[in-house]
């Protein structure tokens, strides 16, 4: 009790001291501290560094440049900073860094944040600090479900979209029998559930679905079993991502399952995954891609600019970061201020079209970005005409079918 009393006393003294120093700044500017600060918090050193990482920071800088070019003198502020931090995929680092970015670096918005536990942690900080958070890198639907809040937006993709895009489209195209292998953690389990619903909804059948340990190097148990299942599956659906996906695909090729009539469908794949495996290892694989750089002239023009800056072609995460930054800045422009509540009001229900988001709406009920996505197939290397040209777009899945209905658990 004594200890608690002391704590209370210290806290009281602290309150007074902080009261002296940290009062509201006052002053007439509509932009807090006279500048807009966009913070990119993502993985810059580990497994997601390639597919997002530092190049997402570049993409956000491109958005700032385009915003300035578009509005010129009319821009609500000249001073726009882009800052970055590396959360190393650790939720506790993401949590403290997010607080620091909002409090100390005066970030007006935090963007990207892959890894769902980290994203959810940052969403909570955004809620308590009442600051805008636009998540791009994480796939969990919880961000717009049970854990949604007024200041959090989810931009680009999620597990539902990935599973439904691939599951129902491939089934409707004739592959009725599926064998699903998924990594045994929340992402994989979510994907498996959504995938099964999608396949069955499209009239297909899940012959079997097996959880694999995560992470895992050896998938031979599952791959050897596949041809012997009855009825024989036409597609192997793998929900593995990153290094696990690379291993599974290599072993799939070693067992020559494609020659045995079992196609491959992948839950989540980034352009960088195809680049590291090589087109031939994945040729024919179908997957849902929220955006592809070479899908049309507009995408290509932007990808050229990105290539000039970074030496690489953008993944959809890079493009989504660009688009999110652009839409955020546009919302600030419309609102005439960077006050979170006003910016949120501008973003909610906003309909727009940009290089990443086609036919797009930010749904007011749960702050999920709805936009057209694509079902893609990996080309064989003989059809690859230039570096990074790996995908053929099979069809466009319209925005209103690509994503789930709002989750009733979400109360903003």
């Amino acid at each position: 009790m004594k200890a608690l009393g002391r704590a209370a006393a210290v806290a009281a003294v602290g309150t007074m001291l902080a009261g002296c120093g940290g009062g509201p700044g006052g002053g007439g500017g509509k932009i807090s501290d006279g500048r807009l600060v966009l913070a990119v918090l993502n993985d810059q050193s580990a497994i997601y560094a390639d597919l997002s990482g530092k190049n997402s920071v570049e993409a956000v800088k491109m958005a700032v440049a385009d915003y300035k070019a578009k509005y010129g003198d009319k821009a609500v502020t000249e001073n726009i900073d882009v800052i970055a931090a590396d959360h190393q995929n650790k939720p506790d680092i993401a949590n403290s860094k997010a607080q620091e970015l909002y409090d100390r670096q005066k970030a007006d918005t935090i963007m990207d944040v892959p890894t769902s536990s980290a994203a959810l942690a940052v969403a909570n900080i955004a809620k308590t600090k009442k600051k805008v958070f636009i998540d791009i890198g994480a796939a969990t639907t919880a961000l717009t479900g049970a854990n949604c809040n007024k200041y959090t937006f989810h931009y680009g993709y999620n597990t539902y979209m990935l599973a439904h895009g691939t599951g129902s489209t491939v089934t409707k195209d004739g592959a009725k029998n599926w064998y699903v292998v998924y990594p045994d953690y929340a992402f994989g389990q979510d994907m498996n559930k959504s995938f099964s619903t999608a396949v069955q909804g499209a009239g297909g059948k899940i012959v079997k679905s097996d959880p694999a340990p995560f992470p895992n190097d050896n998938f031979s148990t599952f791959l050897l079993k596949a041809p012997g299942l009855s009825p024989k599956p036409q597609v192997l659906g793998t929900m593995q991502a990153g290094g696990d996906l690379v291993n599974l695909v290599k072993q799939y090729n070693e067992y020559k399952l494609r020659d045995k009539g079992i196609g491959l469908a992948v839950g989540l794949m980034f352009l960088t995954d195809i680049h590291s495996l090589g087109a031939d290892a994945l040729a024919g694989t179908k997957f849902t891609d929220p955006w592809y750089w070479n899908a049309d002239q507009g995408n290509r023009a932007w990808a050229d600019k990105f290539l000039a800056k970074t030496g690489k072609r953008p993944t959809f995460a890079h493009a989504a970061n660009y688009s999110a930054a652009l839409q955020y800045l546009d919302a600030v422009q419309r609102a005439g201020t960077d006050k979170s509540d006003d910016v949120v009001k501008q973003l909610e229900g906003h309909k727009f079209e940009d290089v990443f988001a086609k036919n797009a709406t930010i749904r007011a009920q749960d702050h999920l970005l709805l936009h057209d996505v694509a079902l893609a197939q990996v080309k064989p290397s003989s059809e690859v005409k230039e570096p990074w040209d790996y995908e053929k777009i099979l069809k466009t899945i319209p925005a209103d079918q690509a994503f789930q209905q709002p989750d009733p658990a979400c109360k903003l």
């Binding site: 200890a3 949590n95 403290s96 942690a121 909570n124 389990q189």
Partner: protein
Amino acid sequence: MILSKLAARPVLLLFGLVAAFALPWLIYPPVAMDIACWALFAAALDLLLGFTGLLSFGHAAFWGGAAYAAGLIAVHWGVPFPVAVLGGALFAAVLAVPIGYLSVRLRGIYFAMVTLAFAQMVYFVVNQWRDLTGGENGLQGVPREFFGMDLSDPFFFYYAGLPFVLLGLFAVWRIVRSPFGRVLVSIRDNPARAQALGYPVERYKLLAFVLSAGLSGLAGGLYAISHGFASLHEVYWTTSGQAVMAVVLGGIGTLWGGAIGAALIVELNDYLATAGFTETGLVTGGIFVVIVLVFRRGVWGTARDLIAARAARRSPAAGTDSAAAQVEAPDRQEVTAR
């Protein structure tokens, strides 16, 4: 030398307390809270590693288990946060009973392996029990309730949480200085002899294990409340490794060294997050290698030896006091001799 030691102790204690209270003024308060939690975690582990001679590689189970327990208590019952933190510590201590009972029969690397195995079991349970723990999304939205007081500012929460850390550190210090602690040291140095003198060695080890786990849990529970969530990372083996690392960097068997090691690791993690290096692992690894090579007994252990050596040079007579000095600091000499 004894006289100078007696004078030095309150000074060091004062210095430590000032540092503990000044920390959130010097560095970012949430990071300061992390350092405080990790300092207690390291000290609790040192109780086992430095004073009982057991290298546990599974303390993440207790730190993380308590983090989840405290988080769940706070989420579901909305009790004031001290209750949740103490509940977490209690959970860790209870969890440590069966794990410790089965592990303390083993020694050395086997003990380390078995504790690691148990911790991994805890990890998988937490990972799979999604309805309760949220799987790899983590347990989110842990409230920081304290009789309606607004503790959302990390600066104030630091001072609200600090008493727990100080209490925990005091407990470790008290345990080490108690007759019970003396027995632990004797078990560490010569278990056969301790047994011959009539001490039930395994029961002592088990109690040390449970106490260490409970104190680690105190730190873990506080950590969860401070961050507002508990994640799988807390029960993962790298967390056990980081705790051992903090103890080794600070100095095994020095108690306060762990705090220095913890501060070093947490600060380094925090700094690297915005430093712009891509090879974070390489940088941290490199720094640790250098520290281990330069400070053979850890930062604090080496510093203390240097101070002692200088004092001995100043008063040549001190050499005769060495036996007495050894009684004062029984925890120093034997550790490296083992």
